[in-house]
């Protein structure tokens, strides 16, 4: 009960936006008549497929990124990785500056078009925020707490699992959430390399001069990003251990 009382603003602000824009869009969608060309993309069955494709793409990439980046981040914070860490961190910083569309296009030239390449591109692009947040999250755990754990007889592994990781969870989860939002947006670019997503709705709308498609795609992907960000926020709040800020 105490936790609910301290709800930060963004927990109710985002749902408000989602409800307002979502309802607005649904009402418009219901009331509008679609030409046959528009129907091809915006008809409900096609629209539903497109949305699901987008979500599938995002989630697949997320799962893979998390499975790679978090263990990698943990390994890099261990004593033995000390010499390698700055190299990797600097490389990650430089990589952040690379444009998503550039990465995806280059990968396509190497791996061909389609869903799989899009996933690889998204994974590469989103590894960096999660990796950085994992490293920062673990590094910011108070050294004295770790010393106390080893001092009373916790093994290195037990200290990692029962002390360091739980205390790093808020920061790590924040990184996952940021990466998720980035992924939802970047997934729109997959349309350029032949993988369907809500971006396809947008590009079709641009190419064929159909504002309805364009606006639908833009609003829907915006809503999706908001929903995922909000859900991520809830997970953050629930998963943060009690005694941690």
């Amino acid at each position: 009960m105490n936790r609910l009382r301290r709800l930060p603003m963004d927990v109710w602000f985002e749902p408000l936006l989602i409800v307002v824009f979502g309802t607005g869009y649904i009402l418009w969608y219901r009331s509008t008549t679609l030409t046959p060309t528009e129907e091809a993309s915006l008809g409900w069955s096609n629209l539903r497929t497109t949305i699901l494709d987008h979500i599938t793409l995002t989630l697949t990439a997320t799962v893979i990124v998390v499975l790679i980046a978090i263990p990698l981040g943990i390994v890099l914070t261990r004593e033995k990785a000390r010499p390698v860490k700055p190299v990797v961190v600097n490389f990650a910083n430089v990589g952040q500056a690379a444009p998503a569309v550039g990465l995806i296009v280059l990968l396509t030239m190497w791996l061909g078009t389609g869903f799989r390449t899009a996933v690889v591109g998204l994974v590469v692009y989103a590894i960096l925020p999660i990796l950085q947040n994992t490293i920062v999250g673990i590094d910011q755990v108070d050294r004295r707490t770790i010393e106390a754990a080893r001092g009373i007889g916790f093994s290195g592994l037990r200290t990692l699992v029962q002390v360091e990781l739980p205390l790093a969870v808020p920061v790590i989860l924040n990184g996952v959430r940021t990466a998720l939002v980035i992924l939802v947006g970047t997934a729109t670019l997959s349309t350029f390399i032949g993988a369907t997503s809500l971006g396809t709705l947008i590009t079709t709308g641009v190419t064929l001069f159909l504002p309805k498609l364009l606006i639908s795609g833009a609003i829907l992907v915006g809503l999706l990003a908001l929903i995922i960000d909000w859900l991520g926020r809830l997970v953050e709040l629930v998963a943060t251990p009690r005694g941690v800020a």
Binding site: E14, A98, V105, L106, T108, G185, V206, V221
Partner: protein, 227 residues
């Protein structure tokens, strides 16, 4: 598919070198265009952001609302916003500029508000106490103290904008993105890889150079006595 033997790899390097030959001016122009676009949009975004922050920072409710809005605004995918903007504004520079300036402003608003609000009340009070008028306090005390945080926001903004500016080529906007998209449209054809690679690498270079310049700016302008 990716060649694995060194002969073909050396072949790739040769191709790249051939591509770059004679295109120096062309590439230089695109690079300048891209950098200039990023610079101007970050500048406009920063100014708007700081103005909003100044207007809002003393009111706790509006500050929280603006902070949350700016953070939420960053979840909007750039392609989506760009597409929405071409409906009223058509193709070309205008929607590109507006979209980039919008995204540039968001991190800076957040940091500016936080920075201005973090100036201790006691400092403001003593400034008022010795008779400094409100505006003087803002410009001589609050903004300089908030500057390091604002500068961090500008750095985040810049890196983001330099990267996102790659997609404005889709709506015929300026910059190095056109190299990437042209490379894509020629997929499998001559120079496609070289174009995309050059575009990407040059964008990374611009981002790193700008970041370095901002760090330098920070060293020069942050008053000693503030960490």
């Amino acid at each position: 598919m990716c060649p694995r033997n060194t002969v073909a790899a050396r072949g790739n390097l040769v191709n790249m070198w051939n591509y770059l030959q004679g295109r120096g001016e062309f590439l230089g122009f695109l690079t300048y265009q891209h950098a200039s676009l990023a610079f101007q949009t970050v500048l406009v975004g920063t100014i708007v952001a700081v103005l909003i922050a100044i207007a809002v920072h003393r009111l706790p409710l509006f500050s929280a609302l603006t902070l949350t809005t700016s953070r939420v605004a960053l979840t909007i995918p750039s392609l989506a916003l760009l597409a929405l903007l071409i409906v009223p504004f058509g193709l070309g520079v205008v929607p590109s500029f507006i979209m980039l300036a919008f995204f540039a402003a968001m991190p800076v608003i957040g940091n500016a508000i936080v920075g201005l609000r973090s100036v201790p009340d006691s400092v403001i009070e003593s400034a008022r106490g010795i008779g400094l008028p409100r505006r003087r306090i803002l410009f001589s005390v609050s903004l300089p103290m908030a500057w390091p945080v604002i500068l961090t926001g500008i750095r985040v903004s810049t890196q983001m904008v330099v990267g996102v500016a790659a997609i404005v080529a889709y709506v015929l906007g300026p910059g190095l993105g056109s190299l990437i998209f042209n490379g894509l449209s020629r997929l499998g054809g001559t120079n496609s890889v070289e174009m995309a690679l050059t575009g990407t690498v040059l964008i990374v270079v611009i981002a790193l150079v700008f970041d370095g310049l901002l760090v330098l700016l920070g060293r020069l302008t942050i008053a000693k006595g503030l960490s």
